[in-house]
């Protein structure tokens, strides 16, 4: 054994080891093209070292020439792989230069195999013996091949290409990579220039190409090694954060999902699988998922997903899911479109949450609100009961008296048929009046959920003032109504809005009941506000709200009246806010109270 053999063999071994490692990496991961190119480059560098060792040991010109010929092949492979590695790894470098270098190195192989011993010498006449590290090595003596200029040109292009790519990589932010790879290649190129200068001066027996390439391989291997370490760390932290996400999603009863649109495959995490009732390894497609959705919500969900994909916007939908045992659950899903490399929506990714409990609470709350509203309505009606009984007994009394009169008329001979006809007509009319009173009361007392429709305020105000008419008369109150004829209709529930107005007018009636007659005056006004809202104002000239309770008049059970339940204004506010409006109370400087509330104009918009 001597040093030359040891060094060159080790150099080759290092290169081949790198190559072997990265071949494995490249085989494992389809995306690691940089590793593959590096493995090729390192493998070729290993071969180059071995061939150089053979050349240094060559005893005849022919043997040397043969070794050198194959060294050109290895060098070409190293260079070409290196050029494309740089493009792949730094994501930089000019394509034209890369192609030119590749072309030149392939072109060099033509004179290498046709007519000459190799691309360096046109003829090797003899082998001289020189000394390196105290060992004898072979040095070729011969004529230079004129084609050798191509090798120099390719080296020059490589230098330009690598410097340019490094600068570009540096600018893109991959500073360390650009510095290591670019520095190593430029350093190696300069070293090879230095080596050939030393060779020309007779201080070195040859260019020692294998060792120069070893330098590049080590630099590249170092970088890729760092990447592998980093990938390992990433994998660890990824699994950590995955565990954290899982913890959070479990705790919040959420599931994660991702729908790859192209493959139509839905990835769902364990939580989402449980939510949807899928087995742990069952393959999930979008249609398969839709099958678990309540039939009434299915199309809406599909449309929402498609809309999100087409518009590239956020996806948000609440729907019912039917479990394997037929149990129904409410799910809220929220997601985002992820675009592929071509800019087209490729995935829909998001979370879903079981909101069954929340929904149940909401429904319960809604039901309670409606019950409360109904109770309050009943109490408001109760306050009116005297008046309503009066209104009912009026037509009923008339019917009774008419019937009695008719009975007596029938006993006379001959009966007065004209009078009897008039009686029957009156009975008809009074019966209708009684039915209308009952109808108005029943409409208010009926328990029902809110049904939004276009409501004509003029009509509504007329209906409520009809309900209150007798009470208003009995208290000798004047009610002024001011509603423009072209007022747009509002979006609302007729009965609930009647209740709001009834509550406000009952309060106002109470406020003015004991005042001097000229101040017993109420006004109801409705007018458009210009921002698509309609404002309704109820005003009285009573004493106003007590200042100390002013801030709480809309709170439940706060009453300024002796027999008030304290619910009228609270429920009025609930109803107005459920209509998307606001309600507020004011005391007027010159005395009196004003309550105003807003309602949204109906979408059909047209005046009534």
């Amino acid at each position: 054994m001597n040093w030359i053999t040891v060094i060159w063999s080790m150099s080759a071994a290092v290169c081949l080891s790198f190559a072997a490692v990265h071949v494995l990496v490249a085989l494992r991961s389809r995306d690691a093209r940089a590793s593959l190119l590096f493995a090729i480059s390192a493998g070729a560098a290993g071969a180059l070292n071995m061939l150089e060792l053979v050349a240094l040991r060559a005893e005849t010109p022919a043997a040397y020439g043969e070794a050198l010929r194959w060294m050109h092949v290895a060098a070409a492979v190293v260079m070409i792989a290196l050029v494309w590695f740089v493009r792949e790894y730094l994501r930089a470098g000019r394509l034209l230069l890369a192609q030119a270098i590749t072309g030149l190195r392939v072109l060099v192989l033509v004179p290498n195999f046709v007519g000459y011993p190799n691309a360096t010498f046109s003829e090797i006449s003899a082998i001289a013996t020189s000394s390196l590290l105290g060992e004898p090595v072979s040095v070729p003596v011969g004529e230079e091949n004129p084609w050798r200029i191509l090798v120099h040109v390719s080296m020059l292009l490589l230098l330009i290409y690598v410097v340019d790519a490094s600068v570009q990589g540096w600018r893109q932010g991959d500073r360390r990579r650009a510095l290591t790879i670019g520095g190593a290649i430029v350093g190696a190129a300069l070293l090879s220039v230095l080596n050939s200068q030393l060779m020309v001066l007779g201080l070195l027996p040859g260019p020692l190409t294998g060792l120069v390439f070893l330098l590049i391989v080590i630099a590249m291997g170092w970088e890729l090694g760092l990447d592998l370490i980093k990938a390992g760390e990433l994998a660890r932290s990824l699994s950590d954060s995955q565990q954290r996400v899982e913890l959070v999603t479990r705790a919040a009863d959420m599931g994660l999902w991702e729908w790859a649109v192209g493959r139509d495959e839905v990835w769902v995490d364990a939580g989402a699988r449980v939510l949807a009732g899928f087995g742990p390894s069952e393959r999930v497609t979008f249609d398969g998922y839709l099958q678990r959705i309540h039939a009434d919500d299915r199309e809406a969900l599909r449309e929402a997903a498609m809309r999100a994909l087409h518009a590239g916007e956020e996806f948000q939908q609440e729907y019912r899911m039917v479990g394997p045992e037929g149990n129904m659950r409410w799910i809220a899903a929220q997601g985002k479109v992820v675009r592929g490399s071509d800019g087209q929506p490729a995935r829909l990714r998001g979370v879903s949450m079981d909101i069954t409990a929340r929904r149940r609470d909401e429904l319960e709350l809604q039901r309670q609100r409606e019950t409360l509203a109904q109770l309050q309505r009943a109490s408001a009606i109760g306050q009116l009961s005297t008046v309503l009984a009066h209104e009912l007994n009026q037509p009923l009394g008339a019917i009774l008296r008419n019937a009695e009169a008719a009975e007596m008329l029938l006993d006379t001979e001959p009966p007065d048929l004209d009078e009897l006809r008039a009686i029957v007509a009156d009975i008809h009319r009074d019966d209708q009046r009684a039915a209308e009173v009952i109808g108005r009361m029943r409409a208010l007392l009926q328990r029902r959920s809110m049904q939004f429709e276009a409501v004509d305020l003029q009509n509504l105000i007329a209906q409520v003032s009809a309900l209150l008419r007798a009470e208003i008369q009995a208290c000798h109150v004047t009610l002024d109504i001011s509603v423009p004829d072209d007022l747009p209709r509002v979006r609302g529930d007729l009965v609930h809005l009647q209740q709001v107005l009834l509550n406000l007018l009952l309060n106002s009636l109470d406020a003015v009941r004991d005042l001097a007659e000229e101040r017993r005056r109420l006004t109801v006004e409705a007018s458009p506000r210009g921002d698509g809202q309609i404002e309704v104002v109820v005003h009285d000239q009573g004493p106003g709200f007590p200042p100390e309770r002013f801030s709480s008049v809309f709170d439940p059970f706060v009453s300024t009246r002796i027999e008030g339940t304290g619910l009228g204004l609270a429920i009025s506010r609930t109803i107005v806010e459920a209509h998307g409006g606001h309600i507020q109370a004011e005391n007027d400087p010159q005395g009196g109270a004003t309550v105003r509330f807003t309602l949204e104009a109906a979408h059909d918009g047209g005046p009534t």
Binding site: Q394, G397, A398, L400, A405
Partner: protein, 219 residues
């Protein structure tokens, strides 16, 4: 001519006062078929303004009416010089109002859907009461007219007689002789058309005059 004398040729009338025209019509029909003279008015003010003077009868009024309500009507009638009993009809009887109404002398207080017998009974009672009160008022007026025809001295003597004093005592009190007392006494009994002290006392009570405080009060 005394307007009250016109009552003779008009039958007792039931005046129906209600703001509901249809109800008035039905009640008019029923009462007419039952044999009553009926007149309807759609408001209390209208009735007070246009009621025929001195006609006997009664009022059937709605308690709740716009403008003047039933209670105010009753008050106005009671204060007039030609009062009429009132039967109240209401849509819905509430106790405090009915108590007040009865205390103020309402004949009855019924709901609008009360049975016919009840309603006719109340009207009958009201008419009887009106007839009675009318008779009392006529008699009272006549007695007062007779008392007004006495001379001042006769009135003085009357006062003492009603107090139960004897002629001798009266003569002493008035400073006149006993025969003069007897003469005044005979004359006043003739003017008042009574023959005994008992009848004289009853007349004084019916005429609504008291003689406790002395002779001046008989005027």
């Amino acid at each position: 001519m005394n307007p009250l004398n016109r009552t003779d040729d008009v039958p007792p009338t039931v005046f129906v006062v209600d703001d509901d025209a249809s109800f008035i019509r039905s009640l008019e029909r029923m009462l007419r078929a039952s044999g009553y003279a009926v007149r309807g008015f759609t408001s209390a003010a209208d009735f007070l303004e246009r009621r025929p003077a001195g006609v006997a009868g009664c009022v059937v009024a709605d308690l709740k009416m716009p403008g003047m309500d039933g209670m105010s009507l009753q008050q106005a009638l009671a204060q007039s010089d030609d009062p009429l009993p009132v039967v109240f009809l209401t849509g819905h009887g509430d106790i405090p109002t009915s108590v007040t109404a009865m205390r103020r002398g309402a004949e009855d207080f019924l709901t609008k859907t009360a049975p016919r017998d009840q309603l006719l009974g109340a009207i009958e009672r009201a008419l009887a009461r009106d007839a009675h009160e009318r008779h009392m008022r006529t008699q009272q007026r006549e007695l007062r007219a007779r008392i007004a025809a006495l001379t001042p001295r006769e009135r003085e003597v009357l006062g003492h007689v009603l107090r139960g004093e004897r002629n001798k005592q009266i003569a002493a009190d008035l400073g006149i002789d006993e025969r003069s007392v007897k003469r005044h006494r005979t004359r006043l009994m003739a003017k008042l058309r009574v023959t005994s002290v008992a009848a004289l006392t009853r007349l004084a009570v019916e005429a609504g005059v008291a003689f406790d405080g002395g002779p001046a009060e008989i005027t």
